[in-house]
Symmetry: C2
């Protein structure tokens, strides 16, 4: 195996180890370099051959999470084309993401309000992508001005994220209820924005 391949392999192992140690009870901030290195099967100091410090690893994890989010959007896009309903399709897709990759979602959720400004900015960027994408659809469907669509999309994403967070602490039999509640909220938003949209946005 080539040198570069091997290096990439253990780099992946580190990332993998970090993700696998995240849980409901353990946040990224509470991971230790030594623990991660141990699980990745390397000596503590070897960690530095790949990342300058834990922060650099953390940003990598956030990027990785953002990537998954973008894959999710692609998936949602296809479903919307087929299904038609933007709102319920979006939230269904998102809930699948949350329940299927709860640690990844938790990372975004926590670092969004974490102690590192860089992390917060990184997460905000990823979420921004997400809602811009949604705004695109809203524009197409409701034909409202760009900034209104964006504002509407941001509100929707906020509500959906919050529902995802709730789902993490709820038993699975409540997922449907949570989704339905959120769908109702999103419909209110869409309806309100459509009929109330003529009012100008002040700044």
């Amino acid at each position: 195996m080539s040198r570069a391949q091997q290096k990439e392999r253990t780099r992946k192992a580190i990332i993998e180890a970090a993700f696998s140690q995240l849980s409901a009870e353990k946040s990224f901030a509470s991971l230790s370099l030594r623990e991660v290195a141990r699980e990745a099967g390397i000596a503590p100091t070897s960690f530095y051959r790949h990342f300058a410090d834990m922060d650099e690893l953390g940003l990598t994890l956030v990027d990785e999470a953002g990537l998954m989010l973008r894959q999710l959007m692609r998936q949602a896009r296809q479903r919307i084309e087929k299904n038609g309903s933007v709102i319920s399709t979006s939230i269904e897709t998102f809930m699948e993401f949350v329940t299927g990759n709860s640690n990844v979602f938790r990372l975004l959720l926590r670092e969004r309000s974490g102690t590192s400004a860089a992390f917060r900015a990184a997460v905000a960027r990823e979420i921004q992508h997400f809602s811009a994408e949604l705004a695109h659809y809203l524009r197409k469907e409701t034909a409202c001005p760009d900034d209104l669509a964006q504002l509407q999309a941001e509100a929707m994403v906020t509500l959906v994220f919050h529902t995802g967070a709730d789902a993490l602490d709820a038993p699975p039999e409540q997922y449907a209820k949570l989704s339905n509640r959120t769908i109702m909220q999103l419909r209110w938003l869409a309806h309100g924005a459509a009929s109330y949209g003529r009012h100008k946005l002040k700044d």
Copy 2:
């Protein structure tokens, strides 16, 4: 000074010390018992005369924060009586709270999705109070069914909290813009809920 008085005094000192160490860069989880004790002016082991562990202190802080939130609601109630506009008065009051007690708000914001289930539950309870109170007003103003008012209030609180979080990372000259954006979103919600409310809520 009586024994009990003195005890209460250092207890307050511990709580005070903990709050004062919270910041944008430091979360409750990253506080250490020893640091807190040092700032409170007691020996590390004396901490245990007041709290079984840091978790117990944390729950106390959350309760304290909830108290401030409830005081805030009382204040908002008065303002609403006088001013009339539920939405803009509410968010203005809330933004004052966020900017004036940013560490307290940050505590709630972070522990809402933190690593302790007990903390999460405690914060959820406080926020629940908050939105129930808002629901009360919505019911009075829009005369819609109880569960719809509650659902609407929860959406509103979610959006307002999120705006508060944004404000923490934004320069003060953007507060007005953030507020206006959120007011717009809340109006959409209110408008949508009012005209769309006849549709039944499934579960």
